[in-house]
C-alpha cells in the first residue's frame, strides 16, 4: 500500500521510510502515541498530504501523484467534519453529487446507506441536531456511499463519550463484516486496537515498530517500546552466559532465540506464576520480596523486589509486604527483546 514513504514538516521528520501493505477487505489498525506520525500516514493514503519521497499504491496502482479528490479512498475524520449547512441526506450525497451521478442513482445509494446505518429517521436533520454516535454514523455513511476501495478512520471514537465507545466499536466491526471494504483505522487506544481484531501496526517517532495480529504483538513484543506501550510488561535487563540469562531476579531461561550478549527480557505481569509450593529443582524459579499489594477486585497486583517486578494474579493470594514469594517465569512467555534502534 505504501512503500518507503518519507514526510517532513519543516525540520521535523514525521515519517521515516515507512512501508505498509494492507490486504483487501482487512481491518487494519495503526496504533501509536500522539505525534508518532500515524495520522500523517493516514492522510498520505487519503491524498490530503503529499509524500516527500516514496510511493502510495492502491489496488496495485501507483496513486502517489493523484490528488485526494480523485482517489478511490474516503475518510471518516476525527471531528467527523460533517457539513453543518447540509442535512444528513445532503451530507451523504455530497461525494456523489460532486461526481455528477444521476439523481436516481444518488437517491438509491443514499437510501441504502441510511438503512444500513439505521439513519432513516434522521435524514432531514442537520448535524447540530445529532448526537455524537449519530454524527459518526453519518460520517461513515458519507464515506461508504462512494464505495471506496479503502475506508480511512482517523480516531473515530475520540469524539464520543467513553461509555458509548464499546458499543460503537462493536457496531463498526459489524459494519465491516457486512461490506468487503478495506478499513484502516488510526487510534492511540490500545484496547480499541486489540478489540478490532485485525492486524495492527505499532508506530513510534515516524517509524513502524511492529506489525502483526493482536495476540502476536501483545505476547511477542518486538522491543522495549512495544512491550511497555501495550499495558506495560516487566522489562528485565539481562546478560547472556551460555544458555542462561542473568537478571536481577536470578538466572532465567527463555525459548526465544537470543542474539545479544547484553539486552532486555520482557514478561507480562499476568503470565508470572505465583507458586505456593516452592520446588527448587526446576528452572526459572525465583524468589522475591513483596513491597506492595494492591487489591483490584478481579485481581491482585504485587510489586516485588528485586526489580521492581509487577505480578498480576488471582485475588486468592494475599501476601503481605515484606513476605517472600516464589515465582515461576514460564520460558515460553519470556520474550527476548530486540535491541532498540538508536
Amino acid at each position: 500500500m505504501v512503500a518507503q514513504v518519507n514526510k517532513s514538516f519543516g525540520n521535523h521528520r514525521v515519517l521515516n521510510d515507512v512501508s505498509l501493505a494492507v490486504s483487501k477487505g482487512e481491518f487494519f489498525t495503526l496504533l501509536g502515541p500522539s505525534g508518532c506520525g500515524k495520522t500523517t500516514l493516514l492522510r498520505l493514503i487519503a491524498g490530503l498530504e503529499s509524500v516527500d519521497s516514496g510511493m502510495v499504491f492502491l489496488g496495485g496502482q501507483d496513486v502517489t501523484a493523484v490528488p485526494a479528490n480523485k482517489r478511490q479512498v474516503n475518510t471518516v475524520f476525527q471531528s467527523y467534519a460533517l457539513f453543518p449547512h447540509f442535512n444528513v441526506i445532503e451530507n451523504i450525497a455530497f461525494g456523489l453529487k460532486a461526481r455528477k451521478f444521476a439523481p436516481s442513482e444518488i437517491n438509491s445509494r443514499v437510501n441504502r446507506m441510511l438503512e444500513m446505518l439505521k439513519l432513516e429517521d434522521f435524514g432531514k436533520r442537520f448535524p447540530n441536531q445529532l448526537s455524537g454516535g449519530q454524527k459518526q454514523r453519518v460520517a461513515l455513511a458519507r464515506a461508504l456511499v462512494n464505495e471506496p476501495s479503502v475506508l480511512l478512520l482517523d480516531e473515530p471514537m475520540s469524539a464520543l463519550d467513553p461509555h458509548l465507545r464499546t458499543q460503537v466499536q462493536a457496531e463498526l466491526l459489524d459494519l465491516h463484516r457486512k461490506i468487503d471494504t478495506t478499513f484502516v483505522m488510526v487510534t492511540h487506544d490500545q484496547s480499541e486496537a486489540m478489540f478490532m481484531g485485525g492486524r495492527l501496526a505499532v508506530m513510534k517517532d515516524g517509524q513502524m515498530v511492529q506489525i502483526g495480529a493482536p495476540r502476536e504483538v501483545y505476547s511477542r513484543p518486538k522491543n522495549k517500546f512495544v512491550a511497555e506501550f501495550l499495558w506495560g510488561a516487566n522489562i528485565l535487563p539481562a546478560t547472556r552466559e551460555g544458555d542462561w540469562l542473568m537478571t536481577t531476579l536470578g538466572p532465567l531461561k527463555t525459548e526465544d532465540r537470543v542474539t545479544w550478549s547484553e539486552g532486555h527480557l520482557a514478561i507480562r505481569p499476568e503470565l508470572i506464576v505465583l507458586e505456593d509450593r516452592p520446588e527448587r529443582a526446576k528452572d526459572n524459579f525465583v524468589q522475591a520480596t513483596v513491597i506492595q499489594t494492591i487489591y483490584r477486585g478481579p485481581s491482585v497486583e504485587l510489586l516485588l523486589d528485586p526489580g521492581p517486578v509487577k505480578v498480576v494474579t488471582s485475588p486468592r493470594f494475599n501476601p503481605q509486604p515484606g513476605e517472600t514469594v516464589s515465582l515461576f517465569i514460564p520460558p515460553a512467555d519470556l520474550v527476548a527483546l530486540e535491541s532498540q534502534a538508536a
Binding site: F9, L48, E155, H188
Partner: protein, 300 residues
C-alpha cells in the same frame, strides 16, 4: 487528540491566493500604508508661499510642535496639545469610573438579560457621532431644565445654554466613548472568577483592597484595550469639541483639520498627525508588552 504536529495543512501560495489577496492588499497599501508613511516624510517638509508643499528637509514643523512659531516661542500650541492629552485622559478616566460599575452590573445579570444589556451598550456605538452630539446640543439648550437649573444655581448666566464649555465637552465625549470602554472591559469582567471575589471577602479585605489587588489585575486585559480604544480616538476627536466646545476647547484633532482646510499648511498638519500616529503606536506596543499573545477580542 492531535497526533501530528503540523496540522491543519494549508495550501501553498498559488496564483489563486494572490488573485484573492492582491486587490485588497494593493488598495490598502496604495491608499493608506504609503500615504501614512508619506505623512511622516511630509512632517519634515515645509509650506510654500501659496500653501504648496516644499520638499526640502526642515525641522521647523517639529519645532513648532513644541511651541516655536514665527514670532518666537509661545505656549499656545503646547496648551492645545496638553489640553488634548488632558481631555482624553479625563474622558478615559470618567469612562473607567462608569464602565466598572456598569460592566459589573451587566455581568451579574442572568445570561438572557445580559445579552439584552450588551446590545443596549453596543447600539450607541454604531449611531452617528454628529447626530448624538447634536442631541446634546438640544438637551443643553437654554429653554430646557438642565440649563435652567444651572442658571438657577448661578453657574451660568440666565437664558444661556450649557454649551459651549468643558462640561458639555466632557458629557459628549464620555457618552460617546463609554461603549469603547465598556465592551472590552465587559469581556474581562464576565470572565472574572466570582469565587475569588468571595474568597477575598472571606479574608476581610476591604472593598478598595479587593478592587486593587483582585479585580484590577484580573481585568487588566480588557481595561487596557478599553483605555486605548478610548484614549487614542478621544485625542483625535474633533466633532464633539467643534460642536460643543467652541474655540476655547480646541484639540489636536481640530488643529489637524484646520491645517488641511483653512490654513493650508499640510506639512504642519502632517507633523501633528505624525505625533498622533506615534502616540497610537506607542500605546499599542505598551499593550502588547502588558498582555503578550492576546488578540483583541474587542474590535466589534
Amino acid at each position: 487528540m492531535d497526533s501530528s504536529p503540523a496540522r491543519p495543512k494549508k495550501p501553498k501560495i498559488g496564483l489563486a491566493t494572490w488573485l484573492a489577496a492582491g486587490p485588497g492588499l494593493l488598495w490598502l497599501t496604495l491608499l493608506l500604508a504609503i500615504p501614512c508613511l508619506a505623512l511622516i516624510a511630509m512632517a519634515f517638509a515645509s509650506r510654500g508661499q501659496y500653501g504648496e508643499v516644499v520638499w526640502s528637509f526642515s525641522l521647523d514643523n517639529l519645532k513648532r510642535l513644541i511651541g516655536y512659531g514665527l514670532f518666537g516661542w509661545s505656549p499656545d500650541l503646547i496648551f492645545i496639545l496638553l489640553r488634548s492629552l488632558l481631555v482624553a485622559a479625563i474622558t478615559t478616566l470618567l469612562c473607567v469610573f462608569i464602565a466598572y460599575p456598569l460592566t459589573f452590573h451587566m455581568a451579574s445579570r442572568k445570561p438572557s438579560i445580559r445579552v439584552f444589556w450588551l446590545i443596549l451598550v453596543i447600539v450607541p456605538f454604531w449611531t452617528n457621532v454628529v447626530v448624538r452630539t447634536y442631541g446634546w446640543l438640544l438637551i443643553l439648550g437654554p429653554q430646557l431644565p438642565p440649563a435652567q437649573l444651572a442658571a438657577y444655581l448661578g453657574l451660568i448666566p440666565p437664558g444661556s445654554a450649557l454649551y459651549p464649555g468643558s462640561f458639555a465637552v466632557y458629557l459628549g465625549m464620555t457618552t460617546t466613548f463609554l461603549p469603547f470602554m465598556a465592551l472590552p472591559l465587559y469581556a474581562s469582567v464576565e470572565r472574572l472568577d466570582q469565587d475569588i471575589l468571595e474568597a477575598a471577602r472571606d479574608l476581610y479585605a476591604n472593598p478598595f483592597l479587593i478592587f486593587w489587588r483582585v479585580i484590577l489585575p484580573q481585568t487588566t486585559p480588557g481595561l487596557s484595550v478599553g483605555v486605548i480604544m478610548t484614549f487614542v480616538p478621544a485625542m483625535a476627536m474633533f466633532v464633539v469639541t467643534d460642536i460643543l466646545g467652541g474655540a476655547k476647547n480646541m484639540l489636536i484633532g481640530n488643529l489637524i483639520q484646520q491645517q488641511f482646510s483653512q490654513a493650508r499648511d499640510w506639512p504642519f498638519g502632517a507633523a501633528l498627525s505624525m505625533g498622533l500616529m506615534l502616540f497610537t503606536l506607542l500605546s499599542l506596543s505598551f499593550r502588547r508588552l502588558k498582555t503578550p499573545g492576546q488578540k483583541d477580542p474587542s474590535l466589534l
